[in-house]
């Protein structure tokens, strides 16, 4: 099968050192992975092509790159599955991190953010004589997140990082969850307090890119949502993100459906009056076009809301 690899090249030592796409035509086998093909290109067509790889078995996480626009491990991605109708596969370095050369990115910032969440066990209380013990049942839910191989795919495709490099990002937050939820760890509250700060767990935009591209099923965004739940439960200081979730739940409890003006008013409220007032021009323009929803007493609850509320109450009563 003749496949065209459209590879994004970049050599900082070349002049001018602008990234560009270069195409290579290669005869590939149906069993070939993208990594097989790239190595083949390097060995037979262009020895200057630079990439990083090691295990070739989706364990080491070295060969993460963007294939047809999405981050993936090249060693786990079949050429045949990615080739377009015209037989083209596009390969680029990971996004949201500096490119060193061709497909090799600088992971220093990635590791810095992982270190920022203190990814080590911080037990409380007296040190046991033997090992720190935890039952299988209490650890089972962590097996998914412990499967992370730190390949950077989630960070590459993170939409929040794309607009703000200060965001700690999905890989570090998944790692933070792994310790917050570890029954042997005693620092959950201080961890959650740190994650509650700007750039932390509330800066995720819930786009699910990290869930989709993760080669190991870590589901980073799910872990970020669990961190938010645990933060609310632990009573860390409210943010407009946590108030939004709390007010949302209360409005659904009261009416079964969303009262949007009330959601904004109560989320920002007196804590952030300027933000609420800044929305006024938009609200006025929407009003002129008949787009401002009913609110308060004018906004009706769903029929049978009393019975519906009992579901909430039952949930609160559960152990």
């Amino acid at each position: 099968m003749i496949t065209i690899f459209r590879i994004r090249r970049f050599n900082p030592e070349a002049a001018p050192s602008m990234p560009y796409f270069q195409e290579y035509k290669l005869d590939t086998d149906r069993a070939d992975t993208v990594l097989d093909a790239l190595i083949d290109i390097r060995e037979t067509l262009d020895e200057s092509l630079t990439l990083r790889c090691s295990c070739r078995g989706a364990i080491c996480g070295s060969c993460s790159m963007r294939i047809n626009g999405h981050a993936a491990l090249a060693c786990k991605t079949k050429v045949q599955a990615m080739a377009s109708e015209r037989g083209v596969v596009q390969v680029e370095p990971m996004n949201n991190m500096p490119v060193i050369k061709d497909l090799v990115t600088d992971m220093a910032g990635f590791w810095e953010k992982v270190r920022q969440v203190q990814p080590w066990l911080q037990p409380a209380g007296q040190e046991p004589e033997g090992e720190y013990l935890a039952s299988s049942e209490s650890m089972n839910h962590l097996t998914g997140v412990m499967g992370c191989i730190m390949c950077g795919a989630c960070v590459s495709d993170c939409a929040a990082l794309e607009v703000d490099e200060r965001f700690v990002g999905p890989a570090a937050l998944a790692k933070a969850y792994r310790f917050v939820a570890d029954p042997r760890d005693g620092a959950a509250r201080s961890r959650l307090l740190a994650l509650n700060e700007p750039g932390g767990m509330w800066d995720c935009t819930r786009c699910m890119e990290c869930i989709e591209v993760c080669p190991k099923g870590v589901g980073a965004m799910e872990r970020i949502m669990s961190l938010r739940s645990r933060g609310i439960e632990a009573g860390v200081p409210s943010t407009s993100g946590s108030r939004h979730a709390e007010v949302f739940a209360d409005l659904i409890y009261r009416k079964g459906r969303l009262d949007e003006p009330m959601l904004a008013t109560r989320t920002f409220g007196l804590q952030n009056l300027s933000r609420l007032l800044s929305l006024l021009p938009m609200v006025l323009r929407a009003f002129v076009r008949g787009k401002v929803p009913k609110s308060g007493p004018l906004h009706r609850a769903i029929p049978g809301v009393e019975k519906f509320r009992r579901l909430f109450q039952r949930m609160e009563e559960r152990p």
């Binding site: 993100g241 979730a245 787009k291």
Partner: protein, 295 residues
């Protein structure tokens, strides 16, 4: 084909022109809708930040109501669809979990057996009407229009819960339907990215950067309009666009259309009846451009 119609909160709130346009077009598509007036909000992924199981209980209740009526659910919001698809995936792949949720639902005399289908309007167009069914309804092919799709995260990811394995065309449903309406589909990398709406409350600056990035990118690629099946994307891309333009000191002025509006116009309906005069970013320039086609 008859559906239990789940309009979602925003189509009857901040984006009333979406509900309006769906009500205008559906009878002409051979669909029969029975609106689910007693169903609750899906939680929109926000309630789930506080308590995911509570979200699953509320959605299981909606699925049970549709199951009782013997009808599949039709949504018109990417977020409603995605949240419901994810909840249904968890419930139908984990029988002990479904049993635990049913124990709570029994409070209201309801049980969910796990048989309800939940489909977005876009998927129904794709899978029930198909190319022929759409093309034969087009009265005014919008050949002069260059439109870019904008899905909304929840209609793209996670693909497993959205059934992309069995229905691979769902991943490109907008492009397919838009091309059947006769217009030129503008491809751009932002089409499956986040509009920034979920960040609007906590970090407006970042949210607006996303609005500016995608709208400017679509314009650079030649789009006259952006078309979305998600009212939450519309709230941000249309409602916050002037603010995003101010932040970036850029001129954006890119109208954001709901898919049913585009469909309605192609079927020969009047722009006003489709709510095209209710947007914050005016659609008039584009309608003028189409003047000869829509006159």
């Amino acid at each position: 084909m008859k559906f239990a119609f789940f309009p979602g909160c925003v189509s009857k709130g901040g984006c009333p022109e979406l509900y309006q346009s769906v009500m205008e077009v559906y009878p002409r598509l051979g669909l029969e809708l029975e609106e689910m007036t007693t169903a609750s909000c899906t939680g929109a992924g926000v309630l789930q930040e506080k308590d995911r199981k509570l979200g699953d209980v509320l959605n299981a209740r909606t699925f049970a109501l549709a199951e009782q009526a013997g009808l599949p659910i039709m949504t018109i919001c990417s977020t409603c669809q995605g949240v419901m698809s994810q909840a249904n995936h968890r419930l139908t792949t984990d029988p002990p979990y479904l049993a635990a949720v049913n124990e709570i639902l029994n409070e209201e005399g309801l049980t969910y057996r796990g048989t309800t289908q939940i489909r977005h309007f876009v998927w129904i167009l794709l899978e029930e009407l198909g190319e022929q069914g759409i093309r034969q309804r087009v009265r005014r092919p919008l050949t002069e229009l260059r439109a870019a799709p904008f899905y909304g995260c929840y209609l793209q990811r996670p693909s497993e819960a959205l059934g992309f394995q069995d229905q691979p065309d769902r991943a490109k449903s907008l492009e397919l339907i838009m091309s059947w309406l006769g217009l030129e589909v503008v491809d751009f990398p932002g089409k499956t990215r986040c509009c920034g709406f979920p960040l609007l409350t906590i970090n407006e600056k970042n949210s607006l950067r996303m609005v500016a990035s995608h709208t400017l990118d679509a314009k650079r690629n030649g789009a006259d309009i952006l078309v979305t099946p998600c009212p939450l994307c519309h709230l941000n891309l249309d409602g916050m666009q002037s603010r995003a333009a101010g932040q970036q000191q850029a001129d954006i002025d890119l109208p954001i259309w709901h898919l049913p509006q585009l469909l309605g116009l192609a079927m020969g309906m009047e722009p006003k009846r489709l709510g095209l005069t209710r947007h914050l970013v005016s659609t008039q320039g584009v309608l003028d451009k189409l003047g000869s086609a829509v006159a």
